[in-house]
């Protein structure tokens, strides 16, 4: 019972974070401003809109799509998306009767350079515990009711591969530009808890 959260008399996470930063600064291990610079750089680097651009490119360029599915890391790097947690990216292709969904049951590993830093629900015990076991009810709860003929493949990020779902291109987007397509791709669709929808279909 020793190690509880702040409700049992610990300093707040904010006070503890600040304490760690100040102690490291005092020891000269953090240079003036280095932490802010690092944080800003990482926040810019880890943006799920990068993944949306990858998806849009794959939808309009059959050759790129093929390369993306054969070597996700390289194809993402070709668009400039690399970095920590993107060392080995595997792209999962949705099909009309096969739906992919990603989880990290043991922590919260994510392909940061293309999916960004994931939302709280993705990191919550509830999602991590439940989606590996009962993906269909979980997806339905999150607003995605899949027809019974669609099989589900859950990918658990237990090692160093980082996954990204290549969702189905929605009907009614024939002739759309890559930019227009990128604008309708969502992070949730690249995790696999949503489909990509057009303003009309959505």
């Amino acid at each position: 019972m020793a190690n509880d959260s702040e409700h049992r008399g610990a300093a707040t996470p904010e006070a503890r974070t600040d304490a760690l930063r100040r102690v490291l600064e005092r020891k000269g291990l953090i240079e003036e401003g280095a932490l802010d610079t690092l944080q800003a750089r990482l926040e810019e680097q880890f943006d799920w809109r990068n993944g949306a651009r990858v998806v849009a490119r794959a939808w309009v360029d059959a050759d790129y799509r093929e390369r993306l599915l054969a070597d996700g890391t390289k194809a993402c790097a070709d668009l400039g998306f690399t970095g920590p947690q993107g060392e080995y990216i595997v792209v999962l292709e949705d099909e009309p009767t096969l739906h992919n969904v990603i989880v990290c049951t043991q922590c919260s590993c994510t392909a940061w350079p293309v999916l960004g830093l994931p939302p709280d629900w993705y990191k919550s015990p509830a999602y991590r515990a439940r989606v590996a076991r009962e993906p269909r009810p979980v997806l339905k709860e999150m607003g995605l009711e899949l027809p019974p003929e669609v099989q589900i493949r859950v990918w658990d990020t237990t090692a160093e591969t980082r996954f990204m779902v290549l969702p189905l291109r929605p009907n009614g987007t024939e002739g759309w530009s890559e930019e227009e397509l990128a604008a309708i791709v969502t992070r949730d669709a690249m995790i696999g808890v949503a489909l990509v929808e057009t303003p009309e279909s959505g």
Binding site: A2, N3, D4, S5, H7, A10, A11, P13, E14, A15, R16, T17, D18, A19, L20, R21, R22, V23, L24, K27, I30, A34, L35, L38, Q39, E43, P84, Y88, V90, V103, T105, Q106, C107, G116, L117, P119, D120, W121, K123, S124, P125, A126, R128, A129, R130, A132, R133, E134, P135, V138, Q151, I152, R153, V154, W155, D156, T158, A159, E160, T161
Partner: protein, 212 residues
Amino acid sequence: MDGIHDLGGMAGFGPIAVEVDEPTFHEPWEGTAFALNALAIGSLHAYNADEYRHAIERMDPIHYLNARYYERVLTGVASLMVEKGVVTRAELEGAARGRFPFAHPNAVVEPDGREAEPCPRFAVGDRVRVRDIHPAGHTRVPRYVRGKQGIVIHVAPRFRFPDASAHGLPPRDEPTVHVEFWARDLWGSDADEHDRVVVDLWETYLEVADGQ
């Protein structure tokens, strides 16, 4: 370790709470905690990513479940900084003006005596069984696939074997393979008969399946 972090398949959590238009960080300290970890691993080389994951796993289960993500990040970083001698508990608690909950101590882990194989041991299409191991230290083989059989669907590059790397043991790189399991083999007859789960597993976790 068979810890609280190994959540795959645990029942009893309620609905998944989804926040609309969630910001990357809810409070500035969350971004600071995230950057501190990146700095500690990337610039200070105070510890590696496997040690970091394991430090979070060593949090008391009550603290683990109560804490949101960035409090877990913070606790992992701070625990390792203390364990590595970079800072002291007293320094942190003094600066925080309060109690600073850390992870529980590390287990003593012996080398497993295995060596990296020159070639990948498994190929796409192989039927494998996950070894039913319960290491006291860090491992990345979830409990829900231990003892289960599946099919190799992809062979990934070599990565550092985390069970060794998280405990300062001699490093060993070996391929990981994506193993596909039928959901019913994992969760029983309540699972959908067509659903599958793919788990990314280091070769050491695997053996050739029965009757091969």
